[in-house]
């Protein structure tokens, strides 16, 4: 049986699933409920000088019939007095001594950092997370992402905290920066014990096109929020990879950003996360999703023979290269399984209009199954991505796997295009139709034809 126990810089929890610092961790009530449901840890809603919030705080991006594939908020840190939060932290720890309770912190002065560190440590927190990520509201006051965007300031504050810290210090990073590894390295230099990423991405999720105001609307006005949810996962994973591959980021990473199911969590761990934090999925579906998260992770680890989380951590990292190190001799082409094809022809129109004109239709209109024109196929995958039928379009390897030649190899050999009309251009001998052929193409009768 796989052991799901997690240890992030000395902070132990029964499993690697923590609630991220956010509305689901606003109170002891919620955290206890989450622990009771099976969550391994919780990063408390950020503590500091309590704020005053606006009403109307969240907005979402819906895609077709999927709700909240992206989510943003303009809520600030806790609006509850510190003493109430601390009392509840103590109560939760008393009831759940083996679960991880991390106090997220955001204050301004050195004195405040020292004072709040002492208080949360006394309350029994297992660690702290410094919120250098919040990209709305708090950053206007010089906190949150305003710190995360200034590696020197970040390093200074981390070192202030470390002056008094007796529990592990996690530094939470903002993605609203060109190179996430710079604040990550600054966190290491300041003495941080771990980093967590990503916090939310500055965003506007939509505009009310009748009243010309973005969402969420606060009395006819709006402001940028912080974006999260499934839509940000690819961005989060890339930033995680950047940190995990950086030799100067020598401290463990807590992965955050759009994690909703066990597969997401596995992906983050394979990219180097020691544990993961979840928020939006809980705000959407409640604490109950933990049942699926732990079951799926455990099943996966058992199937793969991983005893511990550490056994699998970072396994995808060696396979992430620079583009120039990818094998140019690798060749795949699309293959359509006619038995599975339902004739929607999305692959045809995607390839015809959006790629390389490598899919043809039968001249017999009643035969709706498209065919691959293999000599035109560059193996881009697009058709297989738009195909609505599982396993109908597959990409098949055509090279024999014996040859490897990368851009770096070719550069070293002086075998790369260097002039505008270079004979070495990759697409030089690739067939493309004549421009005028576009106007001779048969199109469905209901498509509007110009000039008609």
């Amino acid at each position: 049986m796989a052991n799901l126990q997690s240890n992030l810089a000395g902070i132990k929890s029964p499993n690697p699933f923590w609630l991220a610092s956010a509305p689901p961790t606003n109170s002891g009530y919620q955290v206890m409920k989450a622990f009771d449901a099976g969550w391994g840890g919780a990063v408390w809603k950020t503590l500091g000088v309590p704020v005053v919030n606006v009403s109307s705080r969240y907005g979402s991006v819906n895609y077709r019939n999927s709700r909240m594939i992206g989510f943003n908020n303009i809520e600030l840190i806790t609006d509850r007095p510190l003493r109430d939060n601390l009392r509840e932290i103590t109560e939760v720890k008393k009831r759940f001594p083996d679960h991880a309770v991390i106090a997220s912190l955001m204050v301004e002065t050195k004195e405040q950092w020292h004072e709040i560190m002492r208080q949360v440590t006394d309350a029994g927190a297992d660690g702290v997370e410094l919120n250098f990520g919040c990209p709305h509201g708090m950053c206007e006051r010089g906190m949150g992402s305003a710190v995360g965007q200034e590696p020197k300031v970040l390093k200074t504050i981390v070192s202030w905290v470390k002056e008094v810290a007796t529990i592990p210090v996690i530094v939470k990073l903002t993605p609203n920066i060109t190179d996430i590894t710079r604040p990550a390295v600054a966190a290491v230099e300041g003495g941080g014990d771990a980093i967590s990423l990503i916090n939310t991405i500055q965003s506007l999720v939509g505009v009310d096109i009748d009243n010309f105001v973005p969402y969420p609307v606060v009395d006819g006005k709006s402001t940028n929020g912080g974006y999260c949810g499934p839509a940000v996962k690819p961005i989060a994973m890339n930033m995680l990879k950047n940190c995990a591959q950086n030799p100067n980021v020598t401290i463990p990473i807590s992965g955050i950003g759009g994690i909703e199911n066990w597969r997401d969590a596995v992906e983050f761990i394979l990219l180097g996360a020691t544990n993961v934090q979840v928020c939006t999925a809980v705000m959407h579906y409640g604490f109950g999703i933990i049942r699926e998260l732990t079951d799926g992770l455990e099943r996966y680890m058992d199937e793969k023979g991983f005893q511990t989380i550490d056994d699998m951590r970072g396994l995808a990292l060696p396979n992430i290269k620079h583009w120039e190190d990818l094998n140019l001799k690798y060749k795949v082409v699309a293959s359509i399984n006619p038995d599975k094809c339902i004739g929607c022809q999305l692959c045809y129109t995607a390839c015809e209009d959006g790629a390389h004109q490598a899919i043809g239709l039968s001249t017999n209109l009643s035969d709706r199954i498209p065919h691959i024109i293999e000599e035109n196929c560059v193996g881009c995958n697009l058709c297989s991505l738009v195909c609505p039928v599982e396993e109908c379009i597959t990409m098949e390897r055509r090279d024999d796997g014996t040859e490897t030649k990368t851009w770096a190899d070719r550069t070293a050999a002086g075998n790369i295009p260097t002039t505008f009309n270079d004979e070495l251009a990759g697409g030089l001998h690739h067939w493309v139709p004549e421009p005028g052929d576009a106007l001779k193409k048969r199109v469905p009768r209901h498509y509007k034809v110009s000039g008609e």
């Binding site: 077709r64 019939n65 599975k340 339902i342 929607c344 045809y348 129109t349 039928v389 009768r445 209901h446």
Partner: protein
């Protein structure tokens, strides 16, 4: 005890004839439209006799451009609303939906179509205005789908159009011949009023054009005449007893039902002769009017019936029993035990071998 009690009020009638394709609400329309794949050269369009750009209007619904969707539909089919409800979509657009090939429920195109058009009709969103008069006049005989559609098209080209119809209300079979569980009279008439308002043709009801003199007069007064007269009454069986009381043609029976609703009295036992879609309607309707026993007698086999499978299934679902390979020889009347004349007590059939 039959499944349906004879309706005594309009509300009984509505309940017995509840809509097979009820109007979607916006949530349902949004979810359903989300499923559309937006096929290239979509088979649903090719299967639609009026060639509606179905993927486009579904995408318009999905992006909350409902009036745009309605316009897309009406551009191809002025009876867009009625057709959404009445068309045998199972064998047309929805039957052609590629989802059928992966055993996924096809998109409910008909209901989405009605959803969009109903929104436009209820909001009185007008899309069309007649062109400036071109000085020509056309007479249209028959205010059914063909006649009305012809009139709409002609008005867009500046013709003046007068439509003559023998009935008191427009839309032909849509109102008078389509089963009540497919569309309500109100729905039909709302769309008719909506079209009339936009296209400004003139409708002359209760005006039968039957004599040569009528045609002569039209020819004198109009530049062209369009005949949109439909198929007319039920074909005759040419067997003895056909003229007995309580023996009706299905088209006439359905029309009676459509106009008089619960005031129509249907006896306890009904035999419907025929295997087409109209026969299925007549049988279903008899059952929904409270007939306890409804038999559908068809002269050939089940497989040879002209009706769509789903129409027969629908009839069976309300208790209609099929009887195959029998053709009527004579319809007879009997005197029953209390000496009361009960016409059409039975009929002789010839078994097919």
């Amino acid at each position: 005890m039959s499944e349906f009690l004879p309706p005594h009020t309009e509300s009984d009638f509505e309940s017995n004839f509840s809509q097979l394709k009820p109007l979607m609400n916006s949530t349902e329309a949004y979810y359903e439209s989300s499923r559309c794949l937006f096929c290239y050269d979509a088979p649903c369009v090719n299967a639609c006799p009026t060639g509606i750009d179905i993927p486009l209007f579904i995408r318009q619904i999905n992006s909350d451009n409902i009036f745009g969707a309605a316009k897309t539909i009406f551009d191809s089919n002025y009876f867009g609303h009625a057709c959404g409800k009445v068309c045998p979509t199972e064998v047309l657009c929805e039957g052609a939906c590629v989802y059928n090939h992966s055993d996924v429920k096809p998109i409910e195109i008909g209901r989405l179509q009605s959803y969009a058009t109903a929104k436009a009709i209820v909001a009185d969103k007008l899309f069309y205005t007649p062109a400036a008069k071109n000085g020509k006049k056309v007479a249209v005989i028959g205010a059914g789908p063909a006649g009305i559609s012809c009139a709409c098209e002609l008005r867009l080209h500046g013709y003046e159009v007068d439509i003559f119809d023998s009935k008191a209300m427009p839309s032909g079979l849509t109102m008078h011949g389509v089963a009540p569980y497919k569309i309500t009279n109100e729905d039909v008439l709302d769309e008719m009023a909506y079209l009339e308002k936009q296209f400004g043709y003139r409708l002359f009801h209760n005006t039968t054009i039957s004599a040569k003199e009528d045609i002569d007069q039209l020819q004198r007064n109009y530049d062209a005449i369009f005949l949109g007269i439909g198929l007319g009454s039920t074909s005759e069986l040419n067997i003895p007893g056909e003229d007995l009381e309580n023996v009706f043609g299905a088209v006439e029976f359905i029309e009676e039902l459509k106009i008089h609703h619960h005031f129509v009295s249907v006896p306890k036992k009904v035999i419907v002769l025929g295997g087409g879609n109209t026969a299925m309607d007549a049988a279903s309707e008899s059952a929904r009017m409270g007939a306890e026993r409804v038999i559908l007698a068809y002269r050939r086999s089940r497989e040879e019936m002209g009706a769509y499978d789903f129409e027969y299934e629908l009839a069976k679902s309300v208790g209609v029993k099929g009887m195959f390979n029998v053709s009527p020889v004579e319809i007879m009347s009997f005197e029953d035990s209390v000496n009361q004349k009960v016409p059409f007590r039975g009929f002789r059939v010839k078994q097919r071998h």
